[in-house]
């Protein structure tokens, strides 16, 4: 089924959903469908139940940083010439910034029709990295296969999935605070940091031997 046909069918069946096709210039031309966050679960359920995309194979995140485009344009300006002010064409650099965003990509296949992949994309509104702007609906209730993979996206990109049954870090340890797959991630200075209880153990040990009973220490600790 053609992607534009899928788009028009979805728009007809789910009123109000905003879909956009992202063309892919690569030779295999896997064009993808961007869905707005409000209707994502409905669109996903429709795709699964009526268009037979029952197999959500791959879920992953992509980080797009804000991009600065600079282009040279010619501007007419009055400049001081040898014979007084004159009008001249001058090269000027115009800078435009394309705002960044984070994205989750779902690659859908159909086991009944043996078609696919249909890349389905969900985008955050901006890249402010606040909790609100990084929240997207979870598609785990539609495809169970998203369960671990959305946890991985949460872990490595920091996207919160609303409606996920068990959103915890998957690969990094629980105490880790950053999201390493973001493009602007900076490595920590100390990779070997590991929370250990040395000081507490030492304090407990001092308290234990404060009575003076027990083994004596040559350096006088615990006396």
């Amino acid at each position: 089924m053609d992607l534009t046909a899928i788009q028009s069918e979805l728009e007809k069946s789910i009123p109000g959903c905003r879909l956009e096709i992202v063309p892919n210039p690569a030779p295999a031309a896997q064009h993808s469908l961007v869905v707005d966050a409000d209707h994502a679960v409905l669109v996903a359920t429709y795709l699964r139940d009526f268009l037979h995309f029952d197999y959500c194979s791959n879920v992953t995140g992509v980080d797009f940083l804000p991009k600065e485009l600079s282009e040279k344009i010619k501007v007419k300006k009055t400049v001081d010439g040898p014979n007084g002010p004159e009008e001249k064409e001058v090269d000027e650099v115009r800078k435009t910034t394309i705002p960044g965003y984070l994205e989750v990509v779902y690659h859908l296949f159909s086991t009944t029709n043996r078609t696919g992949p249909l890349p389905l994309r969900l985008r955050t509104p901006n890249r402010d990295l606040t909790r609100e702007s990084l929240t997207l609906p979870s598609l785990t209730p539609v495809w169970r296969s998203c369960e671990f993979q959305e946890r991985e996206v949460y872990d490595l990109f920091g996207i919160h999935f609303d409606g996920h049954p068990d959103l915890r870090r998957l690969l990094m340890w629980d105490e880790f605070t950053d999201h390493p797959m973001r493009r602007d991630y900076v490595d920590p200075d100390d990779y070997e940091y590991e929370p250990t209880a040395h000081d507490e153990v030492l304090a407990r040990h001092r308290a234990h031997y404060s009575t003076g009973a027990g083994p004596a220490f040559p350096e006088g600790g615990g006396q």
């Binding site: 210039p25 029952d54 197999y55 992953t60 049954p165 990094m172 390493p180």
Partner: protein, 384 residues
């Protein structure tokens, strides 16, 4: 419209104080049956599993981030280390995704070499898995050593072809790295011709073994519906009756030229997952026989492919192959620079573990070991 059903923890008997008698056991990360550093938090009522939560990440090295700071070709040796038993299929998966992204063609002989090495890898992986699984079940040593004896012969072939036994780093974009040394194809034909003997012996000894059937039949049943919803792939999905083999669905490479069938299970239990590997090995032997008969002479790499300074045009692609463990996918986004903008590995081992808790609930702890063994994971790929 059905919605998601997650595994609900089993209800325990309502006696007062019962909750206190539940025991939480941490299986792993240092446990001989977890096939690596993998941990399961298991809550037990006596011997019965009432909850099971897998814990990942002990082998995590962020392969994807490393690849984004590396050239396209520079990631090829890293793919060996994903599923380190099957480095050649990992190579193929990555090479295939890049070739489809950049529109590179592969010469005939290289396609045949890829099929031969990939099917040998499948034989090796399935033989190893059967050995591991029986080892997990308590058949200590002997079956595993029989399987490793066969693996040894295939590893010798890989060593003669690629120079390395496990970390082969063999495929290149547009072909393969080196051609076969003199006599290699004859040696491969001999290994393939001898392989059915091992299968017959293994089947005679173990397929209708009473203890084996008792331990595996009806244990860890995965339904077809759950397999589809959870995107289970590979032999595990086919054991549940899902007819989905990417070699048939996508017809990547030259698989459409070979006549082979896709075996399917009907129960979806551990026994079916065990048997499906036997049957797949027999089908792989068919492919190997045909490929070793038909392999043509010719170049092994597209002369137009540039190994250095390779920059695909901007675009993205999701390419996948049928690896021995399931669907191995690579999702690449190119921005026109020498490094991929985004590089993602779709690991079959990790996604096949999604249903581990569903399979284990209600069974004994000893069955958890067998069920995990039948999923066939390699932690290098699960944690990446």
């Amino acid at each position: 419209m059905s919605t998601l059903t997650l595994p609900t923890p089993l209800t325990t008997s309502p006696e007062p104080g019962h909750e206190e008698r539940l025991l939480e056991v941490s299986m792993g990360p240092q446990h001989p049956s977890t096939h690596g550093v993998f941990r399961m938090n298991v809550v037990l009522d006596g011997e019965r599993v009432v909850r099971l939560k897998p814990v990942f990440g002990y082998l995590h090295r962020n392969h994807e981030k490393i690849a984004e700071n590396e050239t396209y070709l520079g990631s090829m040796p890293y793919t060996d280390r994903l599923d380190y038993i099957c480095s050649l299929t990992n190579n193929w998966g990555y090479a295939l995704a890049v070739e489809q992204l950049a529109g590179i063609t592969v010469p005939e002989r290289a396609e045949y070499l890829r099929v031969i090495t990939a099917e040998l890898t499948r034989l090796l992986n399935h033989a190893c898995l059967l050995g591991f699984l029986l080892q997990d079940m308590g058949a200590s040593g002997t079956p595993l050593m029989y399987a490793f004896r066969e693996r040894e012969k295939i590893l010798d072939l890989f060593e003669a072809l690629t120079g390395a036994r496990m970390m082969c780093n063999y495929m290149r974009f547009g072909g393969c790295r080196v051609d076969t040394p003199a006599g290699w194809l004859d040696q491969a034909r001999k290994v393939v011709a001898d392989f059915p003997k091992f299968l017959d012996e293994f089947e005679k000894l173990l397929v209708s073994n009473e203890i084996l059937m008792e331990r595996t039949q009806g244990v860890g049943v995965l339904s077809r519906e759950l397999a589809i919803a959870s995107a289970i792939s590979g032999p595990m999905a086919r054991a549940s009756g899902l007819n989905y083999d990417i070699r048939k669905v996508d017809n990547y490479g030259i698989y459409s030229r070979f006549s082979f069938r896709v075996p399917l299970g009907s129960h979806g239990d551990v026994y079916d997952r065990y048997m499906i590997r036997f049957l797949e090995m027999r089908e792989s032997l068919k492919i190997l026989n045909e490929a070793l008969r038909d392999i043509p002479a010719g170049p092994i790499i597209d002369p137009k492919s540039k190994p250095r300074g390779f920059r695909p045009k901007p675009g993205e692609h999701y390419g996948r192959i049928e690896a021995p463990k399931g669907e191995l996918g690579f999702y690449l986004i190119s921005d026109g620079s020498p490094n991929p903008y985004r590089y993602r590995v779709r690991p079959p081992s990790l996604i096949n573990l999604t249903v581990l808790e569903d399979l284990c609930l209600g069974h004994n702890v000893a069955d958890v070991v067998v069920i995990l063994g039948s999923v066939d994971i390699v932690l290098g790929e699960v944690d990446r």
